[in-house]
């Protein structure tokens, strides 16, 4: 991946990613220092990971794509295939975000909470970064207009982090007479943010508070097959948007 090197170089040069790393590091350090119970700190960190990381990945990746339009154009007149260009861009962006996350959140977690929960937090965070970078690429490849691309990316974020939960709640209320545990499980799994949340929560003690549903979830997600299921869904969420984006990009006129 010779081209990703130049993408990475370009990203490192504008220093935003370094700022993000420092910010994440300060937040996680202060959370771990302030809270006496490491699990509480992890819970606060979880919210940051679930809300902020997708947003940052989406916005950063979309803006980066539009900014490197010239670079993409230049590459396209060279003997480089379109698929390779897009994948290199993806690798560059996601790698830099992942590095930032692993340094900013990973190092504090390794120091203060080297546990099953901590590791699953890092796993979920990394997956979310990849998923939302991939979605961002799909939205930016789909429209030539910057404002539209970034707007679409933001709408996706709203949908996944706010709207989707609301919709599930509505369904739960509407059909509260029926046994819905399995359906909610499936529905939540369709949203990577929810899936990540459930996955981590069940590793914590609080899952005991969740009653029967919690027990059902714990039964499922605690097992190896649950672990595999989570990973599989996450991978699908990374691969499908990226595949669609590549397909679109290959047909595009530039």
């Amino acid at each position: 991946m010779r081209i990703s090197k130049y993408v990475l170089y370009d990203i490192l040069k504008n220093k935003i990613i370094i700022g993000l790393t420092i910010l994440l590091f300060i937040i996680s350090m202060s959370l771990f220092r302030l809270e006496e119970n490491e699990n509480k700190a992890l819970l606060s960190l979880l919210n940051i990971v679930l809300i902020v990381l997708p947003l940052v990945s989406l916005v950063f990746a979309t803006i980066h794509y539009y900014n490197s339009y010239e670079f993409i154009e230049l590459m396209l007149s060279q003997p480089v295939s379109r698929g390779r260009i897009l994948l290199s861009e993806f690798t560059g962006v996601s790698l830099s975000l992942l590095c930032s996350f692993w340094i900013g959140v990973g190092i504090p977690v390794f120091f203060y909470s080297f546990s099953n929960t901590g590791m699953s937090l890092l796993f979920t965070g990394s997956c979310l970064i990849l998923i939302f970078t991939s979605l961002a690429f799909l939205s930016s490849v789909s429209s030539r207009d910057k404002a539209r691309g970034i707007g679409a990316a933001l709408l996706l974020w709203f949908y996944f982090s706010l709207l989707y939960d609301g919709l599930i709640l509505m369904i739960l209320f509407a059909f509260s007479d029926y046994p819905l545990e399995k359906i909610t499980l499936i529905l939540s799994a369709l949203n990577p943010i929810d899936l990540g949340r459930i996955f981590i929560m069940l590793k914590m003690d609080i899952s005991a508070l969740m009653g029967y549903t919690g027990a059902l979830y714990k039964d499922f997600f605690g097992s190896t097959s649950g672990m595999l299921f989570t990973s599989a869904i996450m991978i699908i969420w990374i691969a499908v948007p990226l595949w669609l984006a590549t397909r679109k990009f290959k047909k595009k006129d530039l």
Binding site: D10, K13, N14, F71, E73, L76, P79, K252, D253
Partner: protein, 253 residues
């Protein structure tokens, strides 16, 4: 070398190319001429694979261009408006391209870099460069890898007379190496000494593709501008455009 068969391209409802066919071979210097918006750049972009034609086929060598990319190893392309990554320094840009094309150092053609004296501004970021300097960079990149085919989209637009002359001499030199060179330009006097064939496009159609000898014979004119003007004047719908071309040609001796 390049065979174009019935290319059609529509952008939404606007027809950019309709049924263009041509065959270009080594040793030709083809001037692609036509009014603004006649589809010249779209045709070039189709050859480069930047724009996907709606119908028709393009062959490079004996292989069809269909999402492939290797054939671009043999093409040097100078875009009409060279756009480069803002933050990248010029030296870095050249390094990157060399790294991507992977050619041995002795195969590289650094002549234009030297003649345009680009080395002295290698440290400048691309965003600080003027339009003309960017144009020089584009030209230097197009010639750098010693490609078999050169595609130059308005190469002399925006260049000062001295640089323009350097570029023309370079094109002549490459012409003698039996390369295929495709040039679009509105400055017909620039093309005069280079051209072997003329492709005239209008409203997305290829009106004619002739070698310069036939053209001179048919029109009785020696200079390209006059020859084209005289051909087109007989053709009524093109009249205004041709007079425009003709006038601008007369103004520039």
């Amino acid at each position: 070398m390049i065979r174009i068969e019935h290319i059609e391209k529509k952008f939404k409802k606007v027809t950019a190319l309709s049924g263009v066919s041509a065959q270009l071979t080594n040793g030709q210097v083809v001037s692609l001429i036509g009014p603004n918006g006649s589809g010249k750049t779209t045709l070039i972009k189709c050859i480069l694979g930047l724009v996907k034609p709606g119908r028709g086929k393009i062959f490079f060598g004996d292989k069809q261009i269909n999402g492939a990319c290797d054939y671009r190893n043999d093409i040097g392309y100078m875009p009409q408006i060279g756009r480069y990554p803002d933050n990248m320094k010029m030296g870095h840009l050249f390094e990157m391209l060399k790294n991507i094309r992977r050619l041995d150092a002795e195969q590289l053609d650094n002549e234009l870099i030297r003649q345009f004296d680009l080395c002295s501004i290698f440290e400048k970021p691309m965003r600080t460069l003027s339009g003309g300097t960017r144009q020089k960079v584009s030209a230097a990149i197009a010639f750098l890898f010693n490609p078999k085919v050169l595609i130059l989209d308005e190469p002399t637009a925006g260049l000062d007379p001295l640089s323009s002359e350097i570029l023309k001499q370079k094109i002549l030199k490459e012409k003698n190496k039996n390369k295929l060179i495709l040039i679009t330009s509105h400055i017909l006097s620039d093309l005069d000494e280079l051209t072997t064939h003329v492709m005239y496009m209008q409203e997305g159609k290829l009106l004619f593709f002739k070698d310069i000898g036939t053209l001179q014979e048919e029109t009785g004119e020696i200079r390209l501008g006059k020859a084209i003007a005289s051909i087109m004047r007989g053709n009524d719908p093109a009249k205004t455009v041709i007079n425009e071309l003709f006038n601008s040609y007369n103004e520039k001796p």
